[in-house]
Point group: C2
Chain length 152, copies 2
């Protein structure tokens, strides 16, 4: 009995966070939500830089949201086994996300770096610089999708 | 022809942002995404304060994500007519969101205030204070849901 308890406690400690209690369908829904919300913010920054009607405050809010989501630790939502399953919809995460860890890590790092940079550039308010940085961020999205997200 | 062009330009300017170009189904999906992502972050802060295994860094990331989403200007996603329609799922926004503007504005202000406060409290790292502030934030969520979100 005592051994079981110790093992259970150890498992909790090793988990290092509360993710062990998360249901797979919630994890999938929550990560789809993160990307969905970033999609809005990418879209409205794009509309601002292309529309000839640049709203600095809106771009800052959008870039800050992307940055905070990018830095939120969404990796914790890729629970083992969640290469299959339905959140808002069937996941399109490919199973190599769980095997090509080094490649995935590099992609995630690049994404975080460009998201942080976008927030900085947005604060400065130069539409051309924001457009350029949005392109760099979008490149890291696309790279990761090409490698790790199934096509429809 | 010229009058039409001027009117079109005027409409763009009056919109004051790029929301005029947004499809209703996207607006609904994106707002559902914002709430969905906040739900994860609320849930993991709760697990941290209740689990006896407080991870300050995780709580800060979660609180920062909630704050950035709360301050992102999601009101722009409540396009006229989007009290009906499907994003990830059928919207549960009640039509009084578009009529009881003062009441809604107060609810949104309270939510933003408590979200900003949570990020501050999380940075300080006191689990008890975070738990108390999470309760205050949750109260503003519930208040708004009770008034403006249809039950399942």
């Amino acid at each position: 009995m005592k051994t079981k308890l110790v093992l259970a406690l150890l498992a909790t400690v090793l988990a290092g966070s509360a993710t062990a209690q998360v249901k797979p369908e919630d994890a999938i829904k929550w990560r789809q939500s993160g990307y969905g919300f970033m999609a809005w913010n990418m879209a409205r920054i794009k509309m601002n830089v292309e529309g000839g009607n640049y709203n600095k405050e809106e771009v800052i809010k959008a870039a800050n949201a992307i940055q905070a989501i990018a830095n939120s630790g969404m990796g914790a939502l890729y629970l083992p086994g969640t290469d299959k399953g339905k959140g808002w919809e069937e996941t399109r995460a490919k199973s190599n996300m769980w095997t090509e860890k080094e490649k995935l890590g590099k992609a995630a790092m690049a994404f975080g770096k460009e998201a942080n940079e976008l927030a900085k550039v947005a604060a400065n308010g130069n539409a051309d610089a924001v457009e350029e940085q949005l392109g760099k961020l979008g490149g890291t999205c696309k790279g990761c999708h090409d490698d790790f997200k199934a096509k429809r």
